[in-house]
Symmetry: C2
Subunit: 133 residues, 2 copies
């Protein structure tokens, strides 16, 4: 499944916040806000091994990402996909994301992050994209 | 479960877009963007009887609403709750929402809506609220 050129450009060029939906152990939905990057047609976000979404995605890789830019709120892309998790490259990804979204290294943007649990790369491979982007 | 005063004020006073997560027939997550209002501690949004989220919520009322204001993107409220659906008051709710978000009646904002399927009021009663709002 390929991302549209408009969606690729939005993710590459703007600090758009995304909302990720995962599944709780009881099957109910859980959502959180993430910074987002792209590698080809995969979307990448960061988490840590003690976060709810990491635990949920470790058990159940089906995931949904909503991208709805604030400056064009009637456009959106709902990306339905599957998440693959790895700690490899975890510190590098959060730094890349931090520079994209804040202009700073992550340790500078969020000094308390030195006490964070191990960082994880979440790679979402799209199965289907719904929406106008 | 009570909403915080900050969250009530945000929903009442601003045209904040929200992201709703429901569950597909296969149990995977589905997301969509909605306009939002409030009645006491319940959150209200609108849909139509032919939309995916109506079908999903008719079968499985567990729902999640993410509220993440664009002008304060590091604040959020994740509302986990249960949805009750009714067509009663459906046209009135979409008009109230349209006036809140666009300043116009819905038929004026979206003339094509005259062909819409029957309007539904989705009332979400919170079970838990996570986040900084």
């Amino acid at each position: 499944m390929a991302l549209s050129e408009a969606l690729k450009k939005l993710v590459d060029d703007t600090a758009v916040f995304a909302v990720v939906a995962t599944l709780q152990p009881d099957g109910s939905p859980q959502q959180s806000v993430v910074w987002l990057m792209r590698d080809g047609d995969d979307l990448l976000f960061s988490t840590t091994v003690d976060r709810r979404k990491y635990k949920n995605l470790s058990r159940e890789p089906r995931v949904n990402i909503m991208i709805n830019p604030a400056d064009s709120p009637y456009t959106y892309a709902e990306v339905r996909g599957t998440a693959a998790l790895t700690t490899e490259g975890g510190p590098e990804l959060i730094n890349q994301l931090s520079r994209k979204y804040t202009g700073k290294d992550y340790a500078e943007f969020n000094p308390a992050s030195q006490d964070d649990a191990q960082r994880v790369v979440v790679r979402v491979t799209p199965r289907k994209v719904v929406g106008s982007l």
